[in-house]
Amino acid sequence: MKTITSSKPVEEVMGYLEKCQKVYIIGCGTCATMCHTGGKSEVLGMKEKLEGSGKKVTGWMIIPTACDELTKYALEEEAERIKEADCVLAMTCAVGVQTIALHLKDKKPVYPALNTLFIGMEDSPGHFTEVCLQCGSCVLGRTAAICPLVRCSKSLLNGPCGGSSGGKCEVSEDIPCAWQLIYDRLAEMGRLDEMEEIEPFKDWSVSVTGGPRKIDAEAECTTTS
């Protein structure tokens, strides 16, 4: 599982930093390193850019996994240099940004340098595709293990719309029609009759619009064991 990120436009980042003369930069050694958006070379590149525009970089670090709880200790170790800065620039995914802001003792702005895109599947080295919406009520058992919620541009649950042509989505030549893929896989398995079953209304209350979701993995382990 990888959180896929892309760099924000330089103008947007510089806009955030307009009022900050001194900046502390944080990268992440996991997903952002792999996406080449927040690893060591990108952090050093950012440092050079900021210094080139007349700002002072008080320090930088690459937290091994910025989204986890240990980030708190990494921040404590760098407290002096962070204190000196007017803000923190986080070259991490949005979970990293929020984890840093949560654990930062010395309250100051934490600005994101990246856009967090999706949980991606690596099709080939360095190429990622969004394959899961994290909807909270998985339909893969009924869709030949291909998620139409995120791979179909209209999140259709009951088959391809009228815009499916030659295996492509109407939205772009670069998007394979998810329902064509599902159809082909069901055909291979001799299960095409499943295409006529009507998928029930989706319960979005367990998804992004249902309010923040929480899980207590420890408690789950206790109840299931």
């Binding site: 209209k154 009951n158 295409m195 009507i198």
Partner: protein, 305 residues
């Protein structure tokens, strides 16, 4: 009778139905709708009012339908699931019924990327097949999706779209069966230019007896120019214009006349095709040709039922 609309009565009586499409204006002019209504009044049985067609903001379908209704013209309200969630869709159905609108066509809607607000969030809370289910549940069980009771009757004649020109082709009959199972009473298809492919699709569904369970209205779009033919062939999702038609338009010295001739030839074949119960004319921006097309097809005067 499900709703007893004129469209339903005509189809139930076995007569060949004619519907046409009227796109609402990108503005507030009631007159713009009324003008289209007057043009179409005598040559078709019901007029579809599109719902933010091609993802471009226009006057709402509900308002457009009411304006037609006030003129004594029967509307078909189109509803796409792109712009509204299940609360808004169901609320608008109640409103439409209260205003005397009885025909509703359920659609997915073109993707917002194609329209004038490409940054909009596509809703797609439910899909078009689930919208059909919703309408049938509201009508037959007097219940909302939630299972709660609706007060009052919800007499609606439920329509769905079908596109025999999209892929996978073999699936298109299954999709129709699925829409029927979900609640469709009538179908308006994507524009037919490739008559042999359409005929194959009709054959496949008549073999399954589906034509006995749902009324199929074949879509037609009159072509005005060679440019329009090329554009529809190359850029309009889900439309399949054979090269032969594009060439005919390109070679013609009076393309408008040629376009009408082509459509009349297509309508002639559709009229005789087993299982086709009517035509749906989508003369986008060329509504004044519709009376001519209907008259020359021998479909005038329209029946009184």
């Amino acid at each position: 009778m499900k709703a007893g609309t004129k469209l339903e009565r005509i189809l139930a009586s076995g007569k060949f139905a004619v519907t046409a499409e009227a796109g609402p204006p990108k503005g507030t002019s009631a007159e713009a709708i009324r003008k289209k209504g007057e043009l179409l009044r005598h040559c078709c049985d019901a007029v579809n009012v599109t719902d933010n067609q091609t993802a471009i903001v226009r006057m709402s379908s509900l308002a457009g339908c009411l304006l037609l209704k006030q003129q004594g013209i029967e509307p078909v309200m189109q509803m796409v699931v792109r712009d509204r969630n299940r609360l808004a869709l169901q609320g608008d159905v109640l409103g439409a019924v209260a205003l005397g609108i009885g025909n509703i066509l359920c659609l997915s809607g073109d993707h917002q990327k194609f329209g004038n607000h490409p940054g909009a969030k596509g809703v797609f809370d439910i899909d078009s097949i689930q919208l059909l289910q919703t309408l049938r549940m509201m009508r037959d069980e007097h219940k909302f999706i939630s299972g709660e009771d609706i007060s009052g009757e919800v007499p609606v004649f439920i329509g769905a779209a079908a596109n025999p020109f999209a892929d996978p082709f073999e699936y298109r009959v299954h999709r129709l069966a699925k829409k029927l199972k979900a609640g469709a009473d009538f179908i308006q298809t994507q524009a037919v230019y490739d008559v042999p492919r359409f005929a194959r699709w009709m054959e496949m569904l008549t073999e399954r007896g589906l034509d006995k369970q749902v009324h199929i209205l074949a879509g037609v779009i009159p072509i005005r120019s060679a440019g329009m033919a090329r554009y529809m062939r190359d850029y309009v999702p889900g439309v399949n214009v054979p090269d032969e038609i594009v060439t005919r338009m390109e070679k013609s010295e009076s393309p408008k006349e040629e376009g009408v001739k082509i459509i009349l030839e297509i309508v002639e074949q559709l009229k005789d095709m087993p299982g086709v119960h009517g035509i749906h004319i989508m003369a986008v921006g060329w509504e004044d040709i519709v009376p001519d097309v209907v008259a020359k097809s021998g479909l005038m005067p329209r029946p009184v039922v």
